[in-house]
């Protein structure tokens, strides 16, 4: 097996494949990237058994074959090479491989391609396509609300629902919940719904953001899904289970409504939030056409800042985790943010004007 590639192309493809390299697997071969050189082209494949990625590598196949590259060291080498062209070669019957570039020469232990897991086979002709920009924007604004707590697997996923003209995604870690529905052009026959690990969608978004492709091809099966964008495949397992009925969490009406300037509000939340450390809440006090944001951390200090707002009615004081509040306001499109509340003990709602995005957030009880 021998291939030649430009350094920049190699680094780019390795970076994509590395997102699926297992960092702590006990299976040694999963710490590698499978390089396959065939007459039709070169591909790099990596998998951590949850996500698999296959990406093309632009280059010249001089001798067909396959090798498993030790992912981390090859990536580090590629990034540090001085010359433009890189040759990777493994001679028949050897378990060592060479990386050559200009005057540099590396001899590395490689792993056996026979041990590398096979990717599942997908019925590619049963897939459908969606507009890339609308799909990934929905991912970017929703997925960060998913849970990282593996003890509740369903909440580590994003509930995605695609019809011919909309995509809707829902994610929650049980402290906040994001819902967004976006108009989209999709060639789906009827409608498709699945719970996709948030991490898979986030990686898809990073891969997709870089390339020029306009569409993503999606091939769902019963327990896995394949995404293809710009020639890169991302295969993810699906999460089995019942996504919580989020509709019943959304209150029917709210008693308090305030509109704030998004940039100004975010800046104040970030500044004052510096003093909300170690689980301390950020306090929002609405009174007399003024919103006062304050925070206090034991042994550190306190902060306060006021913004004029249009607010009449009874005073309201409500506390939130500053990161959750910031994430919700930041995910709103457009220049203004609507905040809606019922009471300091009931969930609050954050939404924008320009699109169909909702962020529901549970308060932190204040201690006096």
């Amino acid at each position: 097996m021998r291939i030649a590639a430009e350094k920049t192309d190699l680094v780019e493809s390795l970076t994509i494949a590395n997102k699926a390299v297992s960092s702590r697997s006990s299976i040694q071969v999963l710490s590698g990237i499978l390089l396959e050189a065939k007459t039709e082209g070169i591909t790099l494949t990596a998998t951590d058994m949850e996500i698999s990625i296959r990406t093309p590598l632009r280059g010249r196949v001089e001798e067909t074959g396959a090798v498993v590259l030790p992912a981390r060291i090859v990536t580090d080498i590629a990034k540090n090479l001085a010359s433009r062209e890189v040759v990777i070669e493994q001679r028949m019957g050897e378990n060592q491989m060479e990386v050559r570039s200009g005057e540099s020469f590396f001899m590395l232990h490689s792993l056996s391609p026979a041990d590398f897991p096979q990717l599942p086979v997908f019925p590619l002709d049963e897939g459908f396509s969606v507009e890339k920009s609308a799909f990934l924007e929905t991912v970017d604004r929703v997925a960060s609300s998913a849970s990282r707590d593996e003890t509740r697997p369903v909440l580590t996923g994003v509930l995605a629902h695609v019809t011919q003209n909309t995509v809707k995604m829902v994610a929650t870690d049980s402290y906040r919940l994001s819902v967004m529905e976006t108009p989209i052009e999709a060639t789906v026959a009827d409608k498709v719904q699945a719970i996709i690990p948030a991490r898979s969608l986030t990686e898809l978004s990073r891969i997709g953001a870089a390339g020029p492709a306009d569409v993503i091809i999606i091939v769902p099966t019963e327990n896995q899904v394949l995404f293809e964008v710009g020639g890169v495949w991302l295969i993810s397992r699906l999460i089995d289970g019942q996504f919580p009925n989020y509709r019943q969490l959304l209150p029917e009406s709210f008693d308090y409504e305030v509109t704030v300037d998004k940039t100004e509000f975010l800046e104040v939340v970030r500044r004052v939030g510096l003093l909300a450390q170690k689980n301390a809440p950020l306090r929002l006090r609405f009174s007399d056409n003024t919103l006062t944001v304050s925070a206090e951390s034991q042994d550190v200090g306190k902060a306060r800042e006021s913004i004029p707002v249009r607010y009449e009615g009874d005073d309201l004081e409500i506390g939130f985790n500053p990161e959750f509040l910031e994430a919700g306001a930041a995910a709103v499109a457009g220049p203004t943010v609507h905040l809606k509340f019922i009471s300091p003990l009931r969930p609050g709602l954050i939404k924008g004007e320009e699109d169909d995005f909702l962020y529901l957030i549970m308060p932190i009880r204040l201690s006096d």
Partner: protein
């Protein structure tokens, strides 16, 4: 927190010392620069602009801690004012604690310059407790070059008052049975817990000394001050059941109750469990903690004892969240038809409360609100003033 199982020695009387470093920050500064010993020294200033510590020379001019710096300088313009070296003070404080830990595993550091030590049962190792306290005082003087005042008594309350009795370099021993007599002549504000507002109310009732307070019948104090009144009555008599608890040992909160007569009455057993649960949850909230694990303990009439635990998905501090778990644990753990002698409920896996509530359990914040209101009523009118219909009164 029950004492059982923590390996505390059984003795007729406890031997508890309170140790208080004299003018701690100022003394450390004097060690750094011995020429300061002849001068008034004030450590403080900083952001809040108050005195942290003054040495005894400065105190003669009326300077005391927590006084605004400006007042202190006016009272004692010639004082040497130092900003303080808190990292160094922490080093001294750790060495102080290390000395104490050579004499007992039960050392409770209350602040940077004071600690309790439980010396019960150490006589076999170190000789009479009084001598051990003298040895500690000497070692702190020799090894750290710091003055220290020691109070030795049968409980924390009296030990604390005793250490303050002859400061600096004081050494006061209150023998078992002499607690009330020792406290009686002291002004009532020397009792820990008697702050300015309580003091004013006591003065209105003609109470000047601790002895005056001790003569008031306990039920009258309870009528006037609720649960605080009960505590006050006990303290006036020099009684204090609190244990010396090393901070890291605060790992669980539990309560148990032994029935007057062993019983199989399920309604009585379950309502007792609810009452115990209410009680541990209330103490949990008072400590500003949340718990993840709940344990039920059953002791049968033949003393066979079973415990069973359940761990929640996330820590909570709401009665209602634990009721269901406790009853379920009890029903699965009760495998024998024997009569039951004792029931206990414990909370563990404790973390500082966050009060970040959950969208999927929107009832919880409302139930906690109820709990906190009930807590406030009990704080004022006593533990049994109000309870849930199903929870059995003791």
């Amino acid at each position: 927190m029950s004492g059982a199982g923590t390996g505390r020695p059984k003795a007729a009387y406890r031997a508890i010392a309170h140790l208080d470093l004299d003018a701690f920050y100022a003394s450390v500064e004097e060690n750094l620069d011995p020429s300061l010993r002849e001068k008034p020294v004030i450590v403080g200033g900083g952001e809040r602009g108050v005195v942290s510590t003054a040495n005894y020379i400065a105190r003669r001019y009326g300077v005391h801690s927590a006084m605004p710096m400006r007042t202190a300088r006016r009272l004692c313009p010639q004082a040497v004012v130092l900003p303080g070296n808190h990292r160094l003070y922490a080093v001294y404080s750790r060495r102080f604690k290390a000395i104490l830990e050579e004499y007992s595993p039960l050392v409770e550091k209350v602040s940077i310059d004071e600690a309790y030590i439980d010396l019960t049962g150490t006589e076999g190792l170190f000789g009479p407790v009084t001598r051990t306290c003298r040895a500690i005082q000497r070692r702190v003087r020799d090894e750290l070059d710091l003055g220290i005042s020691v109070g030795l008594a049968t409980n924390k309350l009296v030990a604390k008052v005793a250490s303050d009795f002859q400061k600096p370099a004081g050494f006061t021993v209150v023998r078992p049975g002499e607690e009330a007599a020792f406290l009686a002549p002291l002004p009532v504000e020397h009792l820990p817990g008697v702050g300015p507002s309580l003091l004013a109310q006591l003065r209105d009732r003609g109470v000047v000394t601790v002895g005056d307070l001790a003569r008031i019948p306990e039920n009258l104090l309870r009528l006037s001050f609720g649960e605080v009144g009960e505590v006050l009555a006990r303290r006036a008599r020099g009684e204090d059941p609190r244990q010396v608890t090393p901070r890291e040992l605060m790992k669980s909160i539990s309560r148990e109750t032994t029935f007057d007569e062993d019983t199989t009455d399920t309604a009585l057993l379950e309502s007792t469990l609810l009452h115990l649960t209410e009680d541990v949850c209330r103490r949990l909230r008072r400590q500003k903690l949340e718990a993840r694990t709940v344990t039920v303990k059953i002791r049968y009439s033949d003393f066979v004892t079973h415990t069973r635990s359940h761990t929640l998905r996330r820590p909570l501090d709401v009665d209602e969240a634990f009721f269901k778990e406790v009853l379920q644990l009890f029903r699965t753990a009760r495998e024998r038809r024997y009569r039951i002698r004792l029931l206990g409920v414990g909370l563990s896996n404790l973390v500082p409360r966050s009060w970040q509530d959950d969208l999927f359990d929107q009832q919880l914040p409302l139930l906690r609100d109820l709990d906190l209101k009930l807590d406030a009523i009990r704080e004022k009118y006593g533990r049994n003033a109000i309870r849930r219909g199903a929870a059995e009164k003791e």
